[in-house]
Amino acid sequence: MELILPILISGTAIAIATGYLGSFALLRRMALVGDALSHVALPGIALGLMFHFNVLIGSLAFLILSVIIIWVVEHKTKLNVDTLVGVLFTLALAIGAVLSSGEELLDSLFGDIGKITNVDFWVILISSIVIVLALLILTRKLLLNMISKDIAFSLGMKPHIIELLFLLIFALTVAIGIKFIGALLMGALIIIPAATARNLAHNFKNYAVISVLMGVISVNFGIIIASFYNLDTGPVIVILASTFFFLSIFFQKR
């Protein structure tokens, strides 16, 4: 039980970051990007385990590399992004699976927050703060870019750079999320709280706040319930978050 407080704190930090990022990602129709990106982290994790450097750093490095590749392909070439992403990401997953084995593989797929180290704890906390601050600063640009790229240009903004910054923030969020809940369920933390908030909120401020709240509640109650009944934390959190989502459908105002 003594270990639960750092888990609750880091879980809350991650929930705030993913909930807030998710609110933007959902509107930009990037809901499934988190899911896809999490596959790419696996080789990084595997290499980290093999060569004994911090897996969080390993996965982050691969994630950043991938988003830069995607951004370059999308904006500088005429290649089809969907196809390339589909191939690259599943390839990454396969390589990661081949390089790691047994328990390590399970940890990276389902998260190993119970084994969180001191370093991990602070990396997660600081990363969450960075993510939230970056999104707060970029809110105006992100929203305008979403509404109309041409309007963004008219106001002197550079949509391509905004896009890249968003993808980098996304990569960082996925990195810390994987540590917590694993690559398979990571995407859920980004999609579900935002989807719930979408049903309930009528202006952007409420939407972002509710998304964060839904994430924080799901994570905290999920950790407590999972610990009480000796279940895996990740899946419990996702089931809880989904329950809130289905409830929100009934409470939707028309």
Binding site: L27, D150, L155, F204
Partner: protein
């Protein structure tokens, strides 16, 4: 010094020449109407001025602060955003350089209650007018209007025309207007640019809006219908 100079601008896309060697200049306080058939490159020309697409040639802006009103089809509308929140995205950093929400709403003929309306619950015509309000909010001195009255009803059109008139006479704003409504062009434009991929004609409305020139631009027989 003109606020905008377009020199030998061409845009091609996928091997097709959308705009071919177009040049013109716009002075402060002047208004230019761009007319031409569908697909003639009018919106593309605006995008080149906004620097949102690649072009060859030169576009020189001198002290221009731009406001842009796109056609409604280019906008993502399905967002949880109120009109008030939308306006806040357009505010220039120095607060007193902007109109207040209520004054821009008033400019386009809406009451204060519109500030709390959701983006997604506005009708097409209401949305178009909100886009106009947002574009003028930070008091730009060069306004680019792409079909400003395309989905607006008759009563709304009157408000938009009044706004255009006010902007021209009182605020000395330079205007570029894409319009299919030739009566608007006739009333509000100092100059008309006829565009059909290249510059087909250029001059005052009186000289340009004749059956001969219009036939040249649009093709086929044309008559005036006054309304």
């Amino acid at each position: 010094m003109p606020i905008l100079e377009v020199k030998n601008v061409s845009v091609s896309f996928g091997g097709q020449m959308i705009i071919n060697d177009v040049s013109f200049a716009l002075e402060k306080g002047e208004s230019l109407a761009i007319i031409g058939p569908n697909g003639s490159g009018k919106t593309t020309l605006l995008k080149a001025i906004l620097n949102s697409i690649k072009y060859s040639g030169e576009i020189i802006k001198t002290g221009a602060k731009i406001g842009y009103v796109p056609q409604k089809i280019d906008i993502e509308r399905n967002l949880p955003l109120t009109v008030k929140e939308f306006f806040s995205l357009f505010r220039a950093k120095k607060f007193d350089e902007n109109y207040t929400d209520n004054s821009v709403l008033d400019l386009v003929g809406f009451g204060q209650e519109y500030a709390n309306k959701k983006f997604s619950e506005l009708s097409a015509g209401e949305f178009q007018r909100i886009l106009i309000a947002a574009a003028v909010l930070s008091k730009p001195n060069l306004l680019l209007f792409d079909e400003p009255t395309a989905s607006v009803d008759v009563a709304g059109q009157e408000t938009v025309y009044e706004l255009l008139h006010r902007l021209q006479t009182k605020e000395n704003i330079a205007l570029i207007l894409i319009s299919h409504d030739l009566s608007v062009v006739y009333r509000y434009a100092s100059n008309v640019l006829c565009l059909n991929h290249s510059r087909v004609c250029y001059g005052a409305p009186r000289e340009i809006l004749t059956p001969e020139e219009l036939k040249n631009l649009y093709g086929g027989d044309h008559n005036y219908y006054q309304h």
